[in-house]
Amino acid sequence: MDQEILLKVEDLHAGIEGKEILRGINLTVRPGEVHAIMGPNGSGKSTFSGVLAGNPRYNVTGGSADFHGLDLLSLSPEDRSHEGLFLSFQYPVEIPGVSMVNFMRAAVNAKRKYFGEAPLSAGDFLKLMRQKRAVVELDNKLASRSVNEGFSGGEKKRNEIFQMAVLEPRLSILDETDSGLDIDALRIVASGVNKLKTDRNATIVITHYQRLLDYIRPDFVHILYKGRIVHSGGPELALELEEKGYDWIKEQVDNN
């Protein structure tokens, strides 16, 4: 049974600049599953994704995270990526002067090197780019531009899913992927995510709103509040939240 667990987070505590934000998170993700993590502002959603991806800005103060048998928290961000973790950023970073092509080539070849493979030939690399761009209908023109520079909100998010398609992660964390998207862009991004879904990989969707979950159907919904998962359920929990808001959860937690 243990072999089928992709990610097991236990009693995870983390913070920033001495301030504790995550206060004991427990979460188990198996291959083929889609988990949604919802919660009010400031509950720790982005901190959780940042800690899993290894953002050095956060300090882990307790607990553990096992990623298919590896001690995730001891790995560098780049090794987490090689081992199959992918974070789609809420705010993809603009990198003026670094072209998308060079960025992706460096990423792809670093992963190949990690697994002892030779770098991709120029032809194979371009073919790979072409294939993966189709997943999110990403314009070829963006390839020659600097990473995310001058991209619209929709293009930035599609670019994230494009990178995800190229890197073929085992676990994808989508941090507020719906923020800043109009309905058409949302549909394209969600359909991209769905196309990449297999029974071998898993997805954690972090979102404020139920809207995205109409397109990416979760198997589990968790509510994060004050740095803890305070409630878990099936897809119906998202609908309940949409209807009733977070106040009933807050009351339940704060009164106990």
């Binding site: 780049e78 002067g97 670094v98 960025f103």
Partner: protein, 445 residues
């Protein structure tokens, strides 16, 4: 610290005859004024003097360097075929060995009609009239020291209306087994309507000897003429360089300078473009990658004395280890220089806690109807960008390299010759990857 100037003035006084006997009259006649200027100045600038925040010229010139005034031939000690394929764009190439002009291959045959490249001493005999006026200011101590001792160098001329697209390349090398100072001089004439691209590469020959390059480059850019001047320094920790670039620009001329520092010991570059008329355009670009205990100092002086001229400056430094950098820029817009456009930017990246940068962009405007801006910023690598790249699997060192490269890239964008730009980009990339000292594409076979 002793007054370094004394030894040079004494050497000049005692060896004047020897110096003159190995150089043409048109060059010799300037020496008295140079010596007089230095006697008047009394001492070389030291650290802390105005405009000399990081470098002391006195310290730079103080060691007891030899000067080859008797012109012992060092060329014989050079390997027959020294190849530098920095540009690899079919350049017409000459070497300056210490200070002596040395053509490479069949240089004369490769130069098209209307393009000349020859020894400065030879040119001074052939065209003494071109030496009547000195472009660089004799009151500048580096110019004065150079003028006192210069005996040879490079002369480049592109005749009226000739647009020569390929670069002419000057490879400056040191080749001596004892500490040596070379007074190097370059004179470039780009006549009316002509175009020239000049690439200068400074290289060492021996890594274990102290060298001092006291260099003056003078350029005369004619009416509606253009000069692209690219200057690459890739020398050793034991090299010292004091360089002055001075140019006059006639009406409608364009001057595009890109100075690239990849390696060296202590370097000071000064730039003095001067407008003779209206509608001139000047671009000064500087790229510095400093490491170890290197000190790199760039100073620019632009006086907008005529209307409708534009100047655009972009200097970028990336400093590692305990490297120190300085940039001082002075732009003055004189009364009556209407419709001037002057921009000056200096940006610096400190890649270690010990690296230091001093920057002073200055702008004085004495005229209305002017568009001008200046700015400087010094910072570190963007942590968010670094994490973003790492999260995609790019190793941290590679990510840092890519970000520094990206930071530098727009300085090189100004290099109009594409193969040359690619080549220099490659060299910058290699330098950032720490591929040893010395330009590894220059191979001494």
């Amino acid at each position: 610290m002793d007054n370094a100037l004394t030894q040079y003035l004494e050497l000049f006084d005692t060896s004047r005859d020897v110096i003159d006997s190995h150089a043409p009259h048109a060059i010799n006649v300037r020496r008295d004024a140079a010596a007089a200027a230095l006697r008047h100045i009394g001492r070389l600038p030291e650290r802390g003097d105005e405009g000399f925040e990081k470098i002391s010229l006195n310290d730079m010139f103080a060691p007891d360097y030899g000067i080859n005034i008797a012109r012992v031939d060092f060329k014989a000690a050079m390997p027959a075929e020294f190849g530098c394929d920095v540009p690899n764009v079919g350049a017409c190439t000459a070497m300056v060995v210490n200070d002596a002009f040395t053509p490479v291959g069949d240089l004369a045959a490769r130069l098209p009609e209307g393009v000349e490249m020859m020894s400065l001493a030879e040119a001074a005999q052939l065209y003494p009239e071109l030496f009547a006026e000195q472009i660089a200011d004799i009151d500048n101590p580096v110019v004065a020291l150079n003028t006192m001792f210069v005996q040879d160098g490079v002369f480049i001329r592109v005749r009226r209306g000739v647009r020569f697209e390929r670069p002419v390349q000057v490879l400056s090398l040191f080749n001596a087994s004892m500490p040596l100072m070379a007074a190097r001089r370059v004179l470039i004439h780009v006549e009316d309507g002509a175009h020239a691209t000049v690439l200068m590469c400074d290289h060492p020959r021996v890594h274990t000897v102290d060298y001092l390059s006291c260099r003056v480059v003078e350029a005369v850019v004619g009416r509606d003429a253009t000069l692209d001047f690219y200057d690459l320094e890739e020398s050793t920790a034991r090299s010292r360089r004091a360089s002055v670039f001075a140019a006059t620009q006639a009406e409608g001329s364009r001057l595009n300078v890109c100075s690239i520092y990849l390696n060296g010991g202590m370097t000071r570059n000064e730039f003095y473009p001067r407008y003779l008329d209206e509608r001139c355009a000047t671009r000064l670009g500087g790229l510095v990658i400093g490491g170890g205990s290197q000190i790199i100092d760039n100073a620019t002086y632009i006086s907008h004395s005529h209307s409708r001229c534009t100047s655009d400056q972009l200097f970028k430094y990336a400093l590692f280890d305990s490297a120190q950098g300085a940039f001082e820029g002075m732009v003055t817009v004189e009364p009556g220089a209407e419709f001037t456009e002057a921009h000056q930017v200096n940006r610096n990246l400190l890649a270690s806690a010990e690296a230091r940068m001093h920057t002073m962009p200055q702008l004085i405007i004495n005229c209305d109807e002017v568009k001008a801006s200046h700015g400087a910023a010094t910072g570190q690598l963007d942590d968010d960008a670094l994490f973003y790249m790492r999260s995609r699997g790019i190793p941290v060192e590679e990510a840092r390299m890519m970000l520094i490269n990206a930071f530098m890239t727009d300085v090189l964008d100004a290099i109009s010759l594409e193969p040359l730009r690619d080549r220099l980009r490659h060299l910058v990339d290699k330098r950032l990857r720490g591929c040893g000292t010395g330009c590894s594409t220059c191979s001494i076979k």
